[in-house]
């Protein structure tokens, strides 16, 4: 017999194999998931989940697809959280401090409680990246927040009503578009292609019989 544990899905007790993830436990119990399940691999943030081990004070947050069940786990899924996303035109905004003040002024109401960081399912230093955003240091904010999956747990715990993942996303787009250095070789290559510089090379390949293509392929030089 498999090693079993008791978990409480939305408060209701189920006995499930101890080896399962929380998501696997829900399916074992009989839930056909529609909400709260996306990539099942820790990238999409659909399965944000809050749990507490019976008798303990501490509240934990996790991704259900990435977390193994434990005995006496009280589980509440958070398949949606109302984050506030501001609409903007990426071509019009500029990477200045003012843009955060305009779009997400609530970040300046941060009281420094650090609940966001404590709850982050990706173990990011959320409060720190918000601090960078406050100061207009978008490059640092982008780096610190990079692994964010936008599950929204941080925002659910924030007394200031900050939508951290949206703030971070704006910072990353500003960084990617305006702050990070331009790739000159990329721009150069795009111009060459627009100029038609490679058309005849490609057309030549497209017309080659397969045997010739195979020969070219099998003897091609491979960069070290």
């Amino acid at each position: 017999m498999e090693n079993m544990v008791n978990v409480f899905l939305m408060g209701k007790k189920y006995e499930v194999p101890a080896s399962l993830t929380i998501m696997g436990a829900m399916e074992y119990a009989g839930y056909q998931l529609v909400r709260g399940c996306g990539c099942r691999n820790g990238f999409c943030g659909a399965c944000a989940t809050i749990y507490r081990i019976k008798g303990e004070r501490e509240l934990h947050a996790c991704l259900a697809c990435q977390t193994q069940v434990q005995e006496n786990m009280y589980i509440a899924t958070l398949p949606f959280f109302p984050l506030e996303k501001q609409v903007y035109d990426i071509e019009e905004v500029k990477p200045t401090e003012q843009i955060m003040m305009q779009l997400y002024p609530e970040i300046y109401s941060c009281i420094g409680c650090n609940a966001c960081t404590k709850s982050c399912t990706q173990e990011l230093n959320v409060m720190q990246y918000i601090a960078y955003a406050q100061r207009g240091e978008y490059e640092k904010c982008a780096e610190e927040s990079f692994d964010c999956v936008m599950c929204g747990v941080c925002s659910s715990r924030c007394p200031a009503g900050i939508s951290h993942p949206q703030v971070a996303l704006l910072a990353r787009r500003l960084n990617g578009k305006y702050i990070a250095p331009k790739a000159e070789h990329l721009e150069h290559r795009v111009e060459e292609i627009q100029h038609g510089d490679f058309n005849s090379l490609i057309e030549n390949l497209m017309q080659k019989p397969i045997d010739e293509l195979k020969e070219l392929y099998n003897t091609r030089e491979i960069e070290k």
Binding site: R35, G38, G42, T67, V87, E187, V190, L205, R220, E223
Partner: protein, 535 residues
């Protein structure tokens, strides 16, 4: 952490590491690869395929699981549906909210069309979000689109449609530029030079990445752009049948609210299928690296309406899915782990192959190592795998390389007390990508007028095996292109009377062929519930 047989084998890997790290195993010859594939690749297991008896590809073979869905019953009764009551009326209807669908929607919107996205889960719940390794583009001085073309053509066993592949490689640099201009962050050197690496089968280092969150970085940016443009996204709503007009042109879709089961009718001048892949059909019982909704819905919709499939019999098994621990069994271990220096090592500590062969060859080689060669590591519960020696990465690239370049992998294993900087990991092939799909012309249109396809639902771009980094690329190139072309085409379209006669016709053909199916399709979602006594 590891114990028992796994730990014993790991000691051999550790003992051989200093020697192995110096090696560059030779690459296989073309003949060796052909024999290997024919013997060990799942695509060659004839008993796992069925011949289609109805529809545009009648007489051709596809995986049995796909055949069962292609030759199944519609979810709707055409006689009971009132198509005259239109709930959504748009120029361009995009079915699917992944990278291809979002790119298409952005470009259609840019072109001034009235566009709407429907997606059965949320926008961004897609394989795009999970693509870790990177995106190819020949933008370095020692590279060219022609070399990219040859790499992809060889990787695809010379079966790629040349006119689709040339579009892919020629528009690759501008795709990267478009993403960068939207704010996608790429790994760059301080002077702005893109940091690029090899992928399996590339002859130049042209893999652009955003750490190992490449797809997630692209997807979250595209999603943000869709929302900024205020393009309507009808989420938790699946398309369950295409609607044609009386001339047989695509004219909309029947939609199903996944939660309330309410049916809605969408009318559109042009329709773009961007529904992605099929990993959740678990072909041949393989685990999958795909997202929850990867059930080949677009192929079913298109096929029933008369669109032709191309290479639907070829799937990609990613060589390195997680073999251990079981909680993440089948999850993707990005090819980038090998790009940055990890080698494949068998249970005896031997580097049994070059780590950057193409995916089909690598997968077949690992299967051979674990079967005939008997040099797999048994993981308990009947599982088996080979080692991917991650500590080599920092021996080659220096301390901190793993955290900097593959943080998602480090995090995924750390949750199970496996520190990939210090110990190697166990991998085995996992169902990863649908090489085939609906056949299109370079403008993105199928044989059905006004029906476009983009992304993983397309067949032909990659031939019978896709190279790493060409999928993130194709969703952008062909997604954008489908969006532009569908928007342009919509100017001249006057939608006729909506009809589901093709659904009736397909059912009649099935009946005439003597096929009686209990299954309804598209599948929409897999069912992982434990078998229980239910009402």
């Amino acid at each position: 952490m590891y114990s028992g047989e796994i730990l014993k084998s790991m000691k051999k890997v550790e003992a051989a590491r200093a020697k192995n790290v110096q090696l560059e195993p030779r690459r296989m010859t073309a003949e060796e690869k052909d024999t290997l594939l024919a013997t060990y690749h799942p695509d060659y297991k004839q008993d796992q395929f069925a011949v289609l008896q109805v529809g545009p590809n009648k007489g051709e073979k596809v995986p049995t699981e796909l055949a069962a869905l292609l030759q199944a019953n519609s979810r709707v009764n055409p006689d009971k549906l009132d198509l005259s009551k239109v709930d959504y009326d748009v120029d361009v209807l995009v079915i699917g909210g992944g990278g291809a669908g979002s790119s298409a929607a952005i470009e259609a919107d840019e072109a001034g069309a009235k566009v709407m996205i429907v997606t059965k889960l949320r926008i961004g719940d897609a394989n795009t979000m999970m693509a870790e390794g990177g995106i190819q583009a020949a933008d370095k001085p020692n590279d060219s689109p022609a070399i990219h073309y040859l790499d992809a053509m060889g990787g695809g066993h010379f079966t790629n449609k040349p006119e689709l592949l040339s579009k892919l490689v020629l528009e690759a640099p501008s795709a990267i530029q478009w993403l960068n201009n939207l704010g996608v962050e790429f790994d760059k050197a301080p002077d702005g030079t893109m940091i690029t690496t090899h992928g399996g089968g590339t002859s130049r280092k042209r893999m652009h990445a955003a750490k190992d969150y490449s797809g997630a970085e692209i997807m979250r940016t595209l999603r943000d752009e869709v929302l900024n443009r205020q393009i309507p996204v009808v989420d938790f709503t699946a398309a369950i049948e295409l609607i044609l007009d009386e001339q047989g042109k695509a004219a909309g879709a029947v939609l199903l609210n996944m939660e309330t089961q309410e049916i809605k009718i969408a009318r559109a001048k042009t329709v773009i299928i961007a529904t992605g892949g099929a990993g959740r059909l678990h072909y041949q019982g393989f685990p999958t690296s795909n997202h929850y909704g990867a059930t080949a819905d677009g192929l079913i919709l298109g096929y029933r309406a008369g669109a032709k499939l191309l290479y639907a019999d070829t799937l990609q098994y990613h060589p390195t899915g997680v073999a251990y621990p079981e909680q993440i069994f089948g999850a993707l271990v990005t090819e980038k782990v090998r790009s940055v220096g990890a080698m494949l090592i068998n249970s005896e500590g031997e580097a049994f192959m070059h780590p950057l062969e193409t995916r089909d060859v690598s997968a077949a080689s690992i299967i051979r190592e674990c079967s005939t060669n008997g040099k797999g590591v048994h993981t308990g519960n009947g599982g088996v795998g080979v080692w991917l020696d991650t500590p080599m990465i920092e021996m080659k690239g220096g301390a901190g390389t793993i955290e900097k370049r593959i943080p998602a992998m480090m995090r995924m294993f750390a949750k199970y007390d496996i520190d990939i900087r210090k110990v190697p990991i166990l991998v085995y092939p996992t169902l990863h990508y649908q090489n085939g799909g609906l056949e299109i012309t370079p403008d993105g249109m199928t044989g059905i007028e006004n029906l476009f396809v983009a992304g993983e639902a397309v067949g032909g771009i990659h031939g019978r095996n896709r190279l790493m980094g060409n999928s993130l690329l194709d969703i952008i190139v062909f997604g954008r292109s489908a969006g532009k072309n569908a928007a342009a085409k919509s100017h001249d379209v006057k939608v006729g009377e909506l009809t589901l006669s093709h659904v009736k016709k397909f059912a009649k053909e099935m009946e005439e062929a003597g096929i009686h199916s209990e299954i309804v399709s598209p599948k929409l979602l897999p069912d992982y519930r434990r078998p229980r006594t239910t009402l």
